[in-house]
Amino acid sequence: MLPDQSPAPASASTKKQVTRRTVLSAVPAAMLMTAAACGGSSSGSSIDSEKSHSGPVTLTYGLWDDTQLPAMKKIIDEFEKANPKIHIRPAVTPWDSYWTKLQTAATGGSAPDVFWMTLAYFQLYASNKILMPLTKPVQDAKIDMSQYEPAITKGYTWGKDIYALPKDIDSIALWYNKKLFAEAGLRAPDSSWGWSDLLNAAKRLTKGNVHGIAAQLSDQQSYYNTIPQNDGWVISGDGKKSGYDMPAAIEGLQFWTDMINKYQVSPTLQQMTDTDPQQMFGSGKLGMYYGGSWESIAFKAIPYALDNIDVVPMPQGKTRKTVSNGLGNVIFAKTKYPREAWKFVSFLGSRRAAEIQAETGAVIPATKGTQETWVKSTPQFHLQTFVDEFQYNYSFPVSVNTPVWRDYATKTLADAWTGKRPTAEVAKDIAKQMNGALAKEPSRPA
């Protein structure tokens, strides 16, 4: 052993140790203090405040539906040809994680420049100033807002400002399997059907591993239709009270839970969690399916479905009613390129983009007069059904912070769907939570 490591002079080492120790102990304190000093928020951008760019600009476009991606890509290609300096990068996030990701990204200031918005989340984003108001650009470009379906335009207005150019409108109808109906000796459903006709057909269709219908735990595709059909409502007109605990709503919910638990004509919630009901229907394991207009393009792609399914208006309850939702294209308030983003959004809201959406059969455009093209895009299905239903539709139930009570309702209704708790009890539970959440909401602007 070489005696190289002789002890360092005592005074110097303790001096070094003292400084090292004090530094090491000061670091956590400093970190705690810097952690407390959180960064403040910067104000949103507007078209006038943008500095001029000379180079090419890349915008991110956030969306969630993979089946609509080809149509969106076509729109992007045409836009990029007309605007060579702007490049659009589509970013698809599956629906299940789209909103979580978007909220986190918006909080961190890195949301996509342009993205899809739906009625259920719009008020939350608008009231928190996440979206750029489009009133002035619309006025300057002289865009006529009456060209869009009024229900959707109204849905994307907050206070006096419009925040989105409507993209599409949808409705729900009864898809059915022609082959299974023929095999069961049933006549095809039609617009005269009521709730009991649906139930009887479902009973006749259920045999082996085929079920008559899927009682989906998906509000838009099930009880948001049967509750108003039973003269009930989900949320009051002023957005302050829940309608879930009223007898009409409970019956509207019971219609579906009975299908699973009482009549056994629907797959169980566990079966529908393991396998998507849309896939069950598309591969002939369901006789009937409450599906949206946006699903036609998914069924078009399955050869079995293209040959064997068709669509008719939804059976009516005490009245005819169906729920309609509609997407809009919005601009992130903190985007670095508001001018380019507006150019893209105005193209997305143009007649040409609506026609592309209609031609591919992706969705029903919100632009009036282009919907015929969508109907003709897949002649194998009677897509006119969906457009006809607009005559008796109502707009998706929303409040300022819809997700708070909507997510709770979906999660809690699982107990009614699995039969763990009676539907009436679950509905009263939901109404209680919803009323509490609505009471905490800020008031809407005039």
Binding site: P28, M31, N128, I130, L217, Q270, A414, T418
Partner: protein
């Protein structure tokens, strides 16, 4: 000759000026800091600083899109009376206990692989290790399909025996165990590699002596292999428990948001994710994170205290 040279050299060393010695030490120290700087900076920025930041956040209340206000101990008070947190804790501890089964399975596998002259050892090792290096999300997706209650291979297999299997991942009573099986399956390989390495260090003469004394293979395993392997077992158990208590990705992919089995299988980290990112309740989530930290510290502390009782160090 050599002795004299050493004496001369040591005298010279004693005479070398102090300035030169500390200058060299300072240069070494500087190089040392420079070379560990990337790790230290990375650790500081991405691990240490967020810990303090999260601790601060656990005392705050968050808005929907950021911004937070000081809230004092409210989050902690809610935490200890929240039934959801208690349920998630129960699920997590059951899950961690089940995941520990990969330790005995790993020991048995590596004992089987450690026999001298085993043909195809590298093939077996690779097969057992592939689950470890596969992306957890890919593993979870594949197993989700395997477990599919109507069309998955498990159900088809059970049908051959006339057994009507449950919907493994959507039935509240089976979901947690189904996910635990996947966790065990994916960590056997990792444990096996560590145990194999540990077994290589066990001296052969112990086995030879035991054989001379008439001990059979099984007896040798319990009296020689296990005690000599106990330091490795201890390490694997400590790391395994810490990882299992933080299980998230398997539950997130295999058991989704709208799954009726979610309440009976969500772990504490899944609850953290839900509170922080889905419900934007970041302050409460931070409190949950520190609860988990406390629990892990307690468990690990217990394990270290118990090691005196059963770990055999040379």
């Amino acid at each position: 000759m050599v002795v004299v040279t050493e004496q001369v050299r040591s005298e010279q060393r004693a005479v070398r000026p102090r300035r030169q010695r500390s200058a060299r030490r300072r240069l070494e120290a500087r190089w040392g800091w420079l070379l560990i700087a990337p790790s230290v900076i990375g650790l500081g920025v991405f691990s240490i600083w967020p810990i303090f930041r999260t601790f601060y956040y656990s005392f705050t209340l968050w808005g929907a899109f950021g911004g937070h206000t000081w809230d004092g101990l409210t989050n902690y008070r809610t935490l200890f009376s929240d039934s959801e947190v208690l349920r998630a804790l129960r699920n997590t501890i059951v899950f961690a206990a089940l995941s520990l089964l990969s330790v005995p399975i790993g020991i048995v596998v590596s004992a089987l692989l450690n026999r001298p002259g085993l043909r195809g050892l590298s093939v077996y090792r690779t097969l057992y290790f592939i689950p470890v290096i596969t992306l957890p999300a890919a593993v979870a997706l594949m197993w989700k399909f395997v477990y599919n209650g109507d069309y998955g291979p498990v159900t088809q297999f059970l049908k051959l025996f006339g057994i009507h299997g449950p919907h493994w991942t959507s039935n509240p009573s089976t979901a947690l165990y189904a996910v635990a099986i996947v966790a065990i399956w994916s960590s056997i390989g990792y444990n096996m590699v560590l145990f194999l390495a540990g077994m290589q260090t066990i001296p052969r003469h112990l086995y030879e002596a035991a054989e001379i004394d008439g001990a059979g293979r099984i007896r040798q395993f319990f009296t020689i292999t296990l005690p000599m392997l106990s330091p490795t077992i201890f390490f694997v158990t400590v790391i395994g428990v810490i990882n299992a208590l933080q299980a998230f990705d398997l539950i997130y992919v295999m058991i989704g948001k709208n799954n009726p089995a979610l309440n009976d299988s969500e772990t504490i980290v899944y609850l953290f994710y839900d509170k922080a990112f889905v419900q934007s309740n970041g302050g409460y989530a931070a409190a949950i994170a520190f609860l988990l930290l406390g629990i892990i510290i307690v468990f690990t502390g217990c394990q270290f205290w118990l090691q005196k009782k059963w770990v055999h160090y040379e």
